[in-house]
């Protein structure tokens, strides 16, 4: 087990280095470059821009820039935002809570609802419920998230007036019920696609577990169907799903990009889009690395969880 962890951990580090190199290179080859926005400013001469580039170290060779940036990153200095000069880490920290709140809620919702639909679909195969779940999943997968977001706002905010159209809290309120009230619609919209994916996989995994010999053994022992489902089927079906949850994490992050923008949610997704618009390179790189770390961590946690749950891995 410690060997396994060490192995996975070193793989993760290598992965992060590769991601950062790709991200850094692609970003710097984008047309215009970080200082292009100043070119439009009539008050800035070419000389001013060159001076600025020298100040920021942007005139050095790319690989030196990368190593300089990476070395500072390791030491905890993620650079400063071009926009207002605040440290990147501080900006991320300000937006972290909002994203984690939204991501966490929608992931939990997706897993809970998706598992229930999947298990029920498997135990009631080819029933009306199963067919509806199949069609529903297909619809949720093929319609883009922003459409659900806009329709949700139209129906539940404009027509029914049940929930606010955006933001994380009402200025001047900020109580827990107020946060939850704002959270309902974006988290439901964000989780919709994931419910669809999760329920399909869960259905397959449950059917697979149901066909195993040990389920027949459990029946021969005289266990009730309910007990067989809870004790023998669900546990074995969830095992491959833990890995899937780890793999799905990046798509929840990118999904948040669109959802956060629609609901003006002050999270990292919206921050990323804004920073791109401003050519705020240190901010964009910081966010890129930060999400890469989250994804790698998610997979690592999933691997560890599988190892903890499955005695075949835990004990060997």
């Amino acid at each position: 087990m410690p060997g396994f962890l060490l192995n996975r951990f070193s793989q993760s580090i290598v992965l992060l280095v590769i991601v950062s190199i790709i991200g850094f290179t692609v970003l710097n080859f984008m047309p215009g470059g970080p200082l292009a926005q100043f070119g439009l400013d009539p008050g800035m001469t070419q000389k001013d821009i060159e001076r600025l580039a020298e100040q920021l170290g942007l005139n050095r060779p790319l690989w030196i820039q990368y190593f300089d940036w990476a070395w500072r990153l390791v030491q905890g200095d993620w650079g400063h935002s071009f926009r207002d000069g605040t440290p990147v880490l501080a900006v991320i920290g300000r937006h972290l809570f909002a994203t984690l709140l939204l991501m966490g809620t929608s992931t939990a919702l997706a897993i809970a609802i998706g598992s229930w639909i999947g298990i029920r679909g498997a135990t009631h195969r080819y029933s009306l419920f199963d067919y509806c779940a199949t069609i529903g999943a297909m619809v949720a997968l093929s319609v883009p998230t922003f459409w659900f977001g806009l329709v949700g706002i139209y129906i539940f905010t404009l027509k029914l007036g049940w929930v606010p159209a955006g933001n994380m809290y009402t200025i001047g309120d900020g109580s827990v019920p107020d946060y939850l009230h704002h959270l309902i619609l974006p988290s439901l919209v964000l989780s919709l696609v994931h419910v669809a994916v999760w329920s399909r996989y869960m259905r397959t995994a449950t059917l697979d577990a149901l066909s195993q010999d040990f389920v027949k053994t459990a029946r021969a022992k005289g266990l009730s169907e309910r007990r067989i489902l809870l004790k023998h089927v669900v546990g074995n079906a969830l095992l491959p799903m833990i890995t899937l949850a780890g793999v799905q994490l990046p798509s929840i992050l990118t999904g948040a990009l669109v959802t956060e923008t629609i609901f003006t949610w002050p999270g990292m997704g919206r921050l990323f889009l804004d920073s791109l618009g401003y050519s705020d390179y240190p901010m964009v790189m910081g966010l890129l690395i930060f999400s890469a770390i989250l994804v790698v961590l998610g997979n690592l946690v999933a691997d560890i969880l599988v190892a903890l749950v499955d005695p075949r891995i835990r004990l060997s």
Binding site: A220, K221, D310
Partner: protein, 567 residues
């Protein structure tokens, strides 16, 4: 038959099946899985239900347990269990009987236990499901049961997960679980088929002992007459959903009345104890000479010191004369399949040499070895998985030779020729594998191997997946092919009885090494090593001759043994 046993007093009968008919969904190859089957399981007896695949024996067992899939249902007849007709009762009442009055153990102990629950928890679950005892009493009962089925260190075993246990140990756990509530009836569905022969002997003995001690009634389903001879009090023979013969074990085994039973018993391979009559090859040259062959498997990472090294083949040496068959016999994990894969270079060896026609092929690269590939061909175990379901038989047969430069037409002609040679009609060329039975597919597999006119055939458990009657036909075909073409063969099997049918010489493998080599007569009648003796003694239904062999017999008595067996 049904009316004859109607009069039996119900106190003597634990389970009575009358005119049981189980229908199959429309569109299957026959309308009924089981039709008008009647038999009695007497108290304190072991009843063997024997039949080949598709005979309906497992369906009968599942009907008694109420475990039939939804699409298959009992359409008529009754199953009388302690005075209750369980065909008519509610699912809840049936569930209450399962595990308490009737228990069942299954064929594959590797998949029959939940991998995520400890052995102890799974045994306790039976008692908990029927509200028997307290948590504490259930725990002590579970440990008692582990002792009863002969598992070592029961306190430790209680906390163990199934993956840590061997196949035989898991089957013992299954038995412990089945015995937890002292059921009147135990249904065993091929419980030893997936086990090694020595383990099979132990499990058979365990079931017999427990049955005697508790006076339990056992319904034992099997396809192996050797097992029947070993364990049965009475026998029901099934064929295609019908019960064709029943009676006491002695009566059915010694003087079978039905033609099918006779054919089935005749097809059972026995230890011949007689050496094969090899063809008179003018050329007695060695075709294959293997020296000190080694293969080790490594897993995990050397970097973090989690590496595990298993030596699968450990210094194996033998030679094979042209036109002869060498049997490689061993239990699971003995390295016999690894050896086969090394010889055909499906994987690289870690040491030693393989001299094929005098040339060492062990060190050759894939490109260098490729021209030799046609000369060494393999016949695989699973006739279902080894043929591509999307290719016609013709494509399967010709794709290899065509890849080696034979023109399409010529390959096609040879394929048709070989198909009729292995006993398939020429129409088979255009058909797909799923249209054939297991035995026919194995014939296709043999024809495929012969397409190249190989010098050496490696048959890895080539008949293990087949019913005995089919097995006998395939063995005969292989024998015939060898006599006609003079091909040399390496026949890898776990079944000593099969090996004795076809091999000129047998090598017994154990833990990666060949521990004994010799003609069948020596291996079976006068084994030199303790392990071979154990292996021979464990063969079901062959004990008397095995025991005599242990005592050391003279030539004359060997002959009488052979005569007995022929009769």
């Amino acid at each position: 038959m049904a009316s004859a046993s109607q009069a039996v007093a119900s106190e003597d009968v634990a389970l009575s099946v009358r005119d049981l008919t189980v229908s199959l969904p429309a569109g299957m190859e026959r309308a009924h899985a089981v039709e008008n089957v009647s038999f009695d399981l007497k108290r304190g007896q072991i009843l063997c239900i024997i039949g080949e695949s598709g005979s309906g024996k497992s369906v009968t067992a599942n009907a008694i347990m109420g475990l039939l899939p939804k699409a298959i249902r009992v359409t008529s007849g009754s199953i009388d269990l302690n005075g209750t007709n369980i065909v008519a009762i509610s699912p809840d009442k049936l569930r209450n009987l399962r595990g308490r009055v009737v228990s069942m153990i299954f064929q594959d102990p590797l998949s029959a236990l939940n991998p995520l629950m400890t052995v102890g928890a799974q045994i306790e679950e039976v008692m908990a499901a029927h509200d028997v005892g307290t948590a504490k009493s259930r725990r002590s009962r579970a440990i008692d049961l582990l002792v009863e089925v002969g598992l070592p260190d029961p306190q430790l075993m209680y906390h163990q997960y199934p993956f840590r246990l061997s196949g035989g140990q898991r089957q013992r756990v299954m038995i412990a679980m089945a015995l937890a509530l002292e059921p009147a009836i135990l249904i065993a569905d091929e419980p030893t088929t997936a086990l090694d022969v020595t383990t099979q002997a132990q499990i058979l003995k365990l079931i017999r002992d427990i049955q005697r001690r508790k006076g339990m009634s056992v319904m034992f389903i099997t396809h192996d007459f050797g097992v029947v001879a070993e364990i049965a009090d009475s026998v029901v023979v099934m064929e295609k959903g019908h019960c064709v013969e029943q009676g006491s074990a002695e009566q059915v085994l010694k003087s079978p009345s039905h033609l099918y039973t006779r054919r089935l018993i005749a097809a059972v391979p026995h230890l011949t104890g007689k050496d094969r009559n090899p063809l008179e090859a003018a050329d007695r040259a060695s075709i294959l000479k293997v020296e000190c062959l080694v293969k080790t498997y490594r897993s995990g990472s050397a970097l973090f010191r989690t590496q595990r090294i298993v030596t699968a083949v450990n210094g194996v040496s033998f030679d094979l004369t042209q036109g002869r068959t060498l049997g490689v016999v061993g239990e699971s994990g003995s390295g016999k399949s690894s050896l086969g894969r090394l010889l055909i270079k499906l994987m690289e060896s870690d040491g030693g040499s393989i001299l094929f026609e005098g040339r060492d092929v062990a060190g050759l690269t894939e490109a260098e070895f490729r021209p030799l590939r046609p000369k060494i061909q393999m016949i695989f175990q699973d006739p279902f998985a080894s043929l591509n379901p999307r290719s016609t038989v013709g494509q399967i047969l010709t794709v290899g030779p065509v890849a080696h430069g034979v023109p399409h037409r010529e390959a096609g002609e040879r394929a048709r020729e070989l198909l009729s040679h292995v006993g398939l009609d020429s129409g088979a060329f255009e058909r797909y594998p799923h249209e054939f039975s297991g035995g026919q597919r194995q014939r296709v597999g043999i024809a495929r191997a012969l397409m190249f006119k190989p010098k050496l055939l490696i048959a890895d458990e080539a008949v293990s997946a087949l019913d005995v009657s089919i097995q006998a036909q395939i063995l005969k075909l292989l024998d015939q092919i060898q006599r006609e073409t003079g091909v040399s063969m390496i026949f890898i099997t776990h079944d000593l009885r099969v090996a004795s049918q076809i091999c000129d010489e047998i090598a017994v493998m154990h833990r990666g090494q060949i521990i004994e080599r010799g003609p069948p007569s020596q291996i079976f009648l006068d084994p030199k090593s303790a392990y071979t003796r154990e292996l021979v003694a464990a063969i079901p239904g062959e004990q008397p001759r095995g025991a005599r062999a242990l005592a050391g017999v003279n030539e004359h008595r060997r002959d009488t043994a052979k005569n007995e067996e022929r009769s």
